[in-house]
Symmetry: C2
Subunit: 372 residues, 2 copies
């Protein structure tokens, strides 16, 4: 049994990219097949294609869409490492960044003009993402040359425009109906903004945590002392946004939490300082989905982020993160709004993955290994 796949870098992740029909030939559930292909369960994924880290144990499954409005549909799979399981619950911005390039490289979409536009739909979140890939002279450059923070080698530039992202999870950009709310947690009342775009995010002001908003280098130490309180705020926000009925039920990944502060006057390189929490810890950069919420929050009067960025923003928003300044953009095209970020992507290898056993016996073998 052999399965075709492209191994691609999208942003700062490595993803295995499959066409849905190639996986279907295996005749088994993807919840069984993908972990076996990746070598899970095994903390080292030593017998499979997984990279044994969350950013290198990802799959993107492509579907030819049925509608004329969309060029490619895709489903994101976070493949478990120590567990033979797949999380289908969210999309991944870095994983998304490979889809447009794949469509061009495989001839699914023909390059048109200097920039080719690929309309993609993520099925995990039902989000349209319009991707733009430079195709000077009607073709991908022979040698890609776009750079991005966190990746020491060039790739093809990919613009990811989330189309009308507001309210995809809760139905509304401001699920509580107001731009600013008060949440009681840890014996204190916190002024927060709860925004749903790309992903639900609750935003807290750096000052309220006792952080000097302009001294970004000092944030991490201060944040790490208050992780318990921040988790209480996040769980309260989960209830207030209508995601769950009680704080005990709050999911670990949703909503995200972002701490925001005004940069110094002496730092004209960004519009706001931001530190996002991911799974209870400071994120090394910024989840792309979370950055979409920040972008709309900055453009919505009354939010804690708008009080920092003000009314003079251009089409871009520059957010300082632990990995450097990340720029997002937004633009209106007629009635639709695109909010996005730029990434780079590259195909690392064209592959045929060998699946040695039928997956029934693979599962039996892996269970035997786990109990040995």
């Amino acid at each position: 049994m052999k399965i075709q796949a492209q191994w691609m870098r999208g942003g700062t992740s490595k993803c295995w990219v499959f066409e849905a029909e190639h996986l279907q030939e295996a005749g088994t559930s993807l919840d069984v097949l993908l972990p076996r292909l990746f070598g899970s369960p095994d903390p080292r994924q030593i017998d499979g294609v997984g990279g044994a880290t969350s950013t290198t144990s990802k799959a993107v499954i492509l579907h030819r869409p049925v509608s004329d409005d969309v060029d490619v549909e895709y489903t994101f799979a976070q493949v478990g490492i120590e567990e033979a399981a797949v999380d289908w619950g969210s999309n991944c911005g870095n994983g998304s960044a490979v889809v447009g390039l794949y469509a061009i490289e495989q001839g699914w979409v023909l390059p048109t003009g200097d920039v080719t536009r690929i309309v993609t739909r993520n099925t995990n979140t039902n989000q349209i993402i319009v991707q733009r890939v430079p195709t000077p002279a009607g073709a991908l450059a022979a040698v890609p040359d776009a750079q991005m923070p966190g990746v020491p080698f060039p790739g093809y530039a990919v613009g990811l425009g989330f189309q009308d992202p507001a309210g995809k999870t809760t139905g509304s950009l401001l699920p509580t109906g107001t731009a600013t709310d008060t949440i009681a947690a840890g014996g204190t009342r916190w002024t927060v903004s709860m925004v749903d775009a790309g992903a639900p995010v609750v935003m807290v002001r750096a000052e309220e945590l006792g952080l000097d908003p302009a001294r970004y280098d000092s944030w991490r130490a201060g944040v790490e002392l208050q992780l318990d309180t921040l988790e209480l705020i996040r769980r309260q926000a989960a209830v207030r946004m209508g995601l769950v009925a009680t704080t005990a039920e709050a999911a670990r990944a949703i909503p995200k939490l972002a701490i925001v502060g005004a940069p110094t006057q002496a730092d004209p390189g960004c519009d706001a300082n931001v530190m996002m929490l991911s799974m209870g810890k400071p994120h090394p950069a910024l989840a792309i989905t979370g950055s979409i919420a920040l972008t709309l929050a900055a453009r919505t009067s009354g939010t804690v982020l708008h009080s920092i960025t003000g009314d003079t923003l251009g089409s871009t928003l520059r957010l300082r993160t632990p990995a450097g300044v990340i720029e997002t953009w937004s633009e209106e095209q007629g009635r639709t709004l695109l909010v996005g970020v730029d990434r780079t992507a590259r195909t690392i290898a064209t592959t045929i993955i060998h699946l040695p056993e039928d997956t029934g016996s693979a599962v039996a073998a892996s269970l035997a290994g786990a109990t040995r």
Copy 2:
């Protein structure tokens, strides 16, 4: 520029396996080409095929041999992760384990009988390794089913027999001329054995380190308190074995150091307890090359290991390691001696790696990335 490769698991490592002529087509030095293919320098190797750990940043380069006595010649490359560099200084037992299977799968060697014998020569160490792969009914089994510790999925069994391994580095099994020597280090005199087979190894008795030889579970804590002293012993041994002129010049990886002790009477599952140091720390299992030296030491009167194993060993030697009991074997065939271990191997994927730039510009880009 595209380069063919097989991605294979050998033992507890993942290796990229290239035919030499495919790499030559790139027209550049392997010291430049391999790091770029692997995504180095980058602690995450995010833009290449490397797995960002020492056991997943390995390449094996295969050559069709010129002589009739050898079926496949191969060179092992440990590809740097944070440095764009390749270490060609040693062989890797796990990397070796893919060579015979590759030769059968690619039709370089035709299966003969129930076990196919592939004579391989490692060019890093000029060591002949005779590999044996089961081929029941004259072919590889459709579904591999051999298990080994540390790998939760089955593979094809591969026997690795190091042919006449004694003295490959120093010219002699016992480079000092005697089976037991005394080394002064850390204010104490240590009784050690220095043996060159597979790799040069200095062996120290557990008792002399104050460890209870039979209480293997307690070794690690005791060893970690004495790492400085063990490093002094290792450096003295490097000089005594003639590897370097002064202790200051001793290489980090050679000689290896092994602590040996007698198992309890109540533990008939092994012949000796062993803890090997690797790069200054306890090895999680046992380097295959080091296990060859232990095997010959156990069969050589007067060594500290022979004083534990005695004269009653059969053809196998069972060594308790932190990863479980590892079995080695030795057999004489006429005038040649084969000393070896059994592993499993499997082809994970057949690939074509995309190399975007000519490697000159890749190096320039990576340097630019590093200084950004």
